[in-house]
Amino acid sequence: MATLTTEASAAAHGSPRVGRRRRKWPALIPFLGPALGFYLMFLIIPLAGTIFLSLTDWNGFDFGKIDFVGVTNYTALAHDPVFKSALWHTLIFVAVAVVLKTVGALAASLAINERLPLATLFRGVYVMPTVISMVVIGVVFNLALSPTLGLINPFLDAIGLGHYAGTWLGDPNKALPIIILLDVWQNFGIYMLIYISALVAIPEDLGEAARVDGASRWQEIRRVTIPMLRSTTGIVMLLAGIDSLKVFTTVYVMTRGGPDHATEVLSTWGYDQAFTQNDVGYGSAIMVVLLAIAFVFAFVWLRFFRKVGE
């Protein structure tokens, strides 16, 4: 009975652990408040604003003339050939860039992990592009690839490969692949670092056991190392995918979506609609589509990897 009384009393006043948690909240507010404030101010509110604007017709100048048009902007997307090609380019960009970034980062991290001569140097070399501004990289490569003022065509001429010289970014068939390769080159270094961290965490004795069983180095990598990196690969592919979905600067600086929309992606087309063509509602609708794709991609990817992990 006494015990019952004590339990009833505890239930009435909340458990001591819950009470402690509640008492902690006021103390946590100063720590969490600024970050939450920024999160709310610079992410949640703009996000809600973008979704709201995607349901309006607004030229971006006069807040008094925002007309609610429902889903008109979304239905218009279905009849916009540039949107369709931008969507296609975005999906191609994500698919190719994710594979290349992941494979490149994995290969580079495995090679560096072998502690070959100059491994440390190459680790720095691969990471270096990540810390350089994309604007700078875009301007430099734009100039280098220029058929009239650049270095690539004269170099190809000089080494007897002049027949491979081209118009590069001026060629609608080559411009997007070039931009994808540049994006991969710039960003794969950071994913390589993630892989290197994961490689360090793999217990040595697993490799030793494989070697004792007679596995070659390649078999050890294939059968032990790569399976142990499964969850890291999932994270790398997720981050690379989101990174590629958001691509804007690379395209904007190098081609501005041209020639004739050949490199247009959702982010550049949305930006162009909202800020050049003064159709903020339509531009917002494009950005919401991009956001939805990112959410679906992240959700499906996480579910898939959780299932694989189980």
Binding site: P34, S146, G170, G258, D260, D272
Partner: protein, 434 residues
């Protein structure tokens, strides 16, 4: 002790939060911190225009220590977006330089610009081309004037490397046939005849407009913009595109015509790798800080044989200035506008190779080598405002730029180009009404 540590951390976090919030609230909303009470936003980032506006601001600030002006300038390619964003917010500049036409309409329609009709009527006698369509269409909306021209832009100018032409036995061209003959001769020697870089769309579109002015005439082009009769698929507009396409087929443009930008085409010309460059008088403005290493000849693009309107020119008030209604100090901003368009100030601009819109400025202090071109511009009878700026952005800065880029890349025919333009104009502005 532990309690003290926790409260200490709490106090530190609180102080940090206060500092962060204080940091957010500090400053003056992004304005320059040089202490001015007025601000000017422009795209005058380099060359003669940058030197000139700085000179004007310095002399204004010296004479008006209580109403100082500060400026922020943004490069051309990003300026349109930046200026529209500034105008849509609650904190626009006191004085805005922009490029008129569709921006004037958008700003005026939204009540973002001060009506300058009274000031303009009282002072327009000081401006060249004041009553020309190239200027009035740039600054007028529903019969009211919302901006004033700073420059008289000559857009269809053919600049040439005088030494290169002389070295190759070519006389400065007087007709379009001379240009073609010179180009063929240069091509045969492996020299790029005409520098052109259309990555941003407008340099190529401007070359098309040059032929539009000559083949269709300024009146017909303006009517096509207004959807009052002519369509973009009318023969002369297609013929104008065909002229450019013919130059492309002859190999007159560099290989990087689609991927190089304006700076690239200027570099090509100034490095002596191309004989001609077709662009606007703003190119001259860069000579103030970086003169070309050779003598440059300049004249309006020579008339095409058989053109119906050989003397019609693409010329307009390129840089225009307006007073945003949301500015903090409109009365002083008006005084500054009056000051910067005075003859004394215009002379400073003209001295810096700027095609000042103020009458007499270039004659009084402009460099000798720009006076002839300026006089041709200022006395032009039929002037056309830049079509890409006149048309709604969806037509003028999307379809016009992209389709013409495609034409320069050999992927689109002149007929397909004008058909795309007409389709976009119909979708955006409606059918052309007789």
């Amino acid at each position: 002790m532990r309690r003290n540590t926790r409260w200490g951390a709490l106090a530190a976090a609180g102080a940090a939060a206060v500092l962060v919030l204080a940091g957010c609230g500090a400053g003056d909303g992004g304005k320059s911190s040089s202490g001015g009470s007025m601000t000017l936003l422009s795209e005058w980032t380099d060359g003669g225009s940058a030197a000139s506006i700085q000179s004007t601001i310095d002399s204004w600030n010296k004479a008006n220590p209580d109403n100082k002006m500060t400026q922020r300038s943004i490069g051309n390619e990003d300026f349109m977006t930046a200026s529209r964003t500034a105008m849509s917010g609650d904190n626009p500049p006191d004085v805005l330089q922009f490029e008129g036409f569709s921006d004037t309409v958008d700003y005026a329609k939204a009540g973002k610009l001060v009506d300058l009709t009274g000031w303009w009527n009282a002072n327009k006698s000081r401006f060249a081309l004041a009553d020309s369509p190239g200027v009035t269409r740039s600054c007028t909306y529903q019969g009211k004037v919302y901006c004033v021209p700073m420059s008289s832009n000559a857009q269809s100018v053919l600049f040439y490397n005088a030494k290169m032409l002389a070295d190759n036995g070519i006389a400065p061209p007087k007709t379009y046939d001379d240009v073609v003959a010179a180009g063929e001769k240069l091509n045969a020697k492996g020299i790029t005849p005409i520098a052109l870089g259309d990555k941003d769309g407008w340099p190529g579109a401007q070359l098309w407009m040059t032929f539009v002015a000559q083949l269709c005439g300024t009146t017909m082009a303006d009517q096509a913009v207004d959807r009052k009769g002519p369509k973009w698929t009318d023969q002369c507009f297609t013929d104008a595109a065909a002229q450019v396409d013919s130059l492309r087929q002859k190999g007159f443009f560099p290989k990087g015509v689609v991927s190089d930008d304006y700076n690239g085409m200027v570099s090509l010309f100034e490095s002596g790798k191309a004989a001609f460059i077709s662009t606007g008088s703003w190119f001259i403005g860069s000579w103030q800080s970086a003169p070309p290493p050779f003598q440059v000849g300049a004249e309006y693009f020579p008339p095409v044989t058989g053109a119906a309107h050989p003397d019609d020119k693409v010329a307009y008030g390129g840089d225009v200035v307006g007073i945003p209604t949301g500015g903090k100090n409109q009365a002083e901003a008006m005084k500054f506008l009056d000051y910067m368009t005075s003859l004394d100030q215009a002379k400073v601009w003209a001295k810096n190779y700027y095609f000042s819109a103020v009458k007499g400025a270039v004659a009084a202090s402009g460099p000798a080598n720009i006076k002839d071109l300026y006089d041709q511009t200022a006395s032009a009878e039929n002037t056309l405002g830049s079509l890409d700026l006149q048309l709604p952005p969806a037509v003028g800065q999307d379809v016009l730029y992209n389709s013409f880029q495609s034409l320069l890349g050999g992927k689109t025919t002149p007929q397909q180009f004008t058909a795309a333009l007409e389709k976009s104009a119909q979708a955006t502005q409606g059918p052309s009404q007789p």
